[in-house]
Subunit: 379 residues, 2 copies
């Protein structure tokens, strides 16, 4: 059973129960508009990553602003988004296992589906699943452009994959998946530029033999919130997959912006609202949000607009907020806003988004309760 | 919407889709029986912590083996467990906020409810909520016995709280909550013993003035899987709150056992089953379980019974498994069992437990699909 929503639509901000996953709707809409403007200026496509928000209604807003569709990482996520009306999904990941291939092919009868491969034997399995379902699946060959995770070695190997994909009537070779995940959080613009330049070389080393063999890549996909201005200006990538820009987490905010001004500044639009449940000690308070309310894998959350307060020592359902000398200690029962260290796995902990209009003002009110459609969609 | 179960009851182990939260039912039942036997020998009560499993059916098994009820940390968790038939719940935590107090008092009309306080002003609010609901709530005073989290300072302060609780017709002073969380994972028996000895002194410093003022503590609660033999033998604590023993995570397994043999060895009974989705490189494979399938707050999971394989570099939906020189590299499509670093927040990521009988044998089959009743119950 999903948890009950922590607020009612129309309620004042003060009535939101905690912990709650709160969207500053105005900030999110600014982020959406800013990215749409940037992508228009670059003259290429965007297919935002829905693994960040897992929400069909947010995906619909991205599509309304020009996105060609969305990415996600799992078949179950794609099912949840499709059930909410999303019509064009790239699973930017490998999908392995008979049960998953059956579900993928079934979904491909109803919406446009693309998926990645990096294992030769997988192509025939995908082809069989699509044929049995009477569906058509687009396949991107993933290449490892530096993330040292999935993907074939850049170079001629991808041409062998493309040829095998082309042998299957129910598959279509769509191009390359060339995402450099670990480049996103390199702190300086120079480090990010160097990583993406190397990735670009890897893509070109792969494209040359593909083109020589007569293959066209409709899609060369990749890029995230940390690097998309670089891929976007490269002339090589033609479909950006940034996702986190919509919410901006504390870890992305630690990236040093590009001095050239190419990196737009997105606003923090996602918060975990927490309550001070214990204030016995002079130099700390305890809030009701721990590991089960915040994913701390990329650093602890930042306490929003409360200088001198720092979140640390989380346990399952508690977080300790240290009060620096001279800082104002929160009172027992006060609510604090926390900027998650990492939005994506934090969103996955909640059943509901609480969308707030006029966030941060005395008129702040709950305007939307949106389900996190793909919450827990791990398979 | 909850995710679909990753398997069917009766299916062979090989058909479980991944990632899946898998229980070795035989190991769990051994852990349950071993703890029941230990607690009987100690001659005190156990109220296992259900924040670990969040499951009404597992709570019912604990009660059937002698537990007086369960603990949990949140009102929403108590609601979920009560809906599944649990009749006696201590929320071993502070519950702050008008909406939560209303829900707590409403629940107390239907089952036996106890809760902790460490803020004097909270007592009147609790008393009002209970009176308005026509309910009766038992209240424990939490004292900080060394965890430096919630709890009043040990000593006479608790007597002032007890007297205030006694003034309210709809409240009942139940005793002390004296849990030392950070002692659980101290690695050596000597460190754990020293921490609990200090906690015991804190309890006694609190009990003396309480008894002098005529108050009786029906409950002196605390202890976890790492230290319960010490509290259990102390003659001070009379209700143990261990929870993790039922599953045993990788972090608890790193504790050095008590040389005196007082610490029973519980078995790993909870696993995340993952699939190798990429095997391009010689020295690593990639599995389909990352931060959204495993909580890595207390260290990475251990790859079960596969020497030379180590999980590292997780991202949202991927984990890299390094293959040491000489170790057997898993094949593409193979499934690996991972022992979570920390069970509690890992369980909270899943909608379903897949209970397996004859785990680890060729006859292994899915015997149960149990919902994680309190999954996402953060409020």
């Amino acid at each position: 059973m999903p948890a009950l929503p922590p607020a009612e639509i129309g309620a004042p901000f003060s009535e939101i129960d905690t912990p709650a996953l709160v969207i500053d709707l105005d900030a999110m809409e600014r982020n959406l508009a800013l990215m749409a403007e940037r992508v228009r200026a670059l003259g290429i496509r965007i297919r935002p990553h829905a693994k960040t928000h897992k929400s069909a209604i947010i995906a619909a807003q991205q599509v309304a602003l020009g996105a060609v569709g969305v990415c996600c990482q799992k078949v179950a996520e794609a099912e949840a988004l499709a059930a909410g009306g999303v019509r064009d999904i790239l699973i930017s990941n490998e999908v392995v296992g008979a049960r998953k291939l059956t579900r993928l092919a079934a979904l491909a009868r109803h919406i446009r589906i693309a998926v990645c491969v990096d294992e030769f034997a997988q192509i025939a399995l995908l082809g069989d699943a699509a044929r049995q379902a009477g569906a058509r699946i687009e396949v991107l060959v993933e290449i490892d452009v530096g993330g040292r995770r999935c993907g074939v070695t850049p170079g001629p190997e991808a041409t062998r994959f493309a040829a095998e994909i082309a042998r299957h009537d129910h598959l279509r070779f769509g191009g390359l998946q060339a995402y450099h995940g670990s480049a996103q959080h390199l702190r300086t613009p120079a480090e990010r530029k160097a990583a993406i330049d190397a990735a670009q070389q890897a893509v070109m080393d792969t494209l040359t033999p593909l083109q020589a063999a007569g293959f066209t890549c409709d899609t060369i996909g990749g890029a995230g919130t940390g690097t998309f201005p670089i891929e976007g200006a490269s002339g090589v990538w033609n479909e950006l997959q940034a996702g986190s820009y919509i919410f901006m987490d504390a870890d992305y905010a630690r990236n040093v912006a590009d001095e050239g001004g190419n990196a737009p500044r997105f606003d923090h639009a996602l918060f975990v609202l927490a309550t001070v449940i214990s204030a016995v000690k002079d130099t700390q308070v305890v809030v009701d949000a721990g590991h089960k309310a915040l994913s701390n894998d990329s650093g602890f959350p930042v306490v929003w607009q409360r200088p001198g307060l720092s979140y640390h020592r989380p346990s399952d359902e508690h977080g300790v907020v240290a009060v620096a000398p001279g800082a104002q200690k929160p009172a027992w029962g006060d609510k604090l806003l926390l900027v998650p260290g990492h939005c994506d796995p934090t969103v996955n902990l909640y059943d509901w988004y609480v969308g707030v209009r006029d966030f941060g003002t005395p008129h702040a009110r709950v305007e939307t309760l949106w389900p996190v459609d793909g919450r827990g969609a791990v398979t």
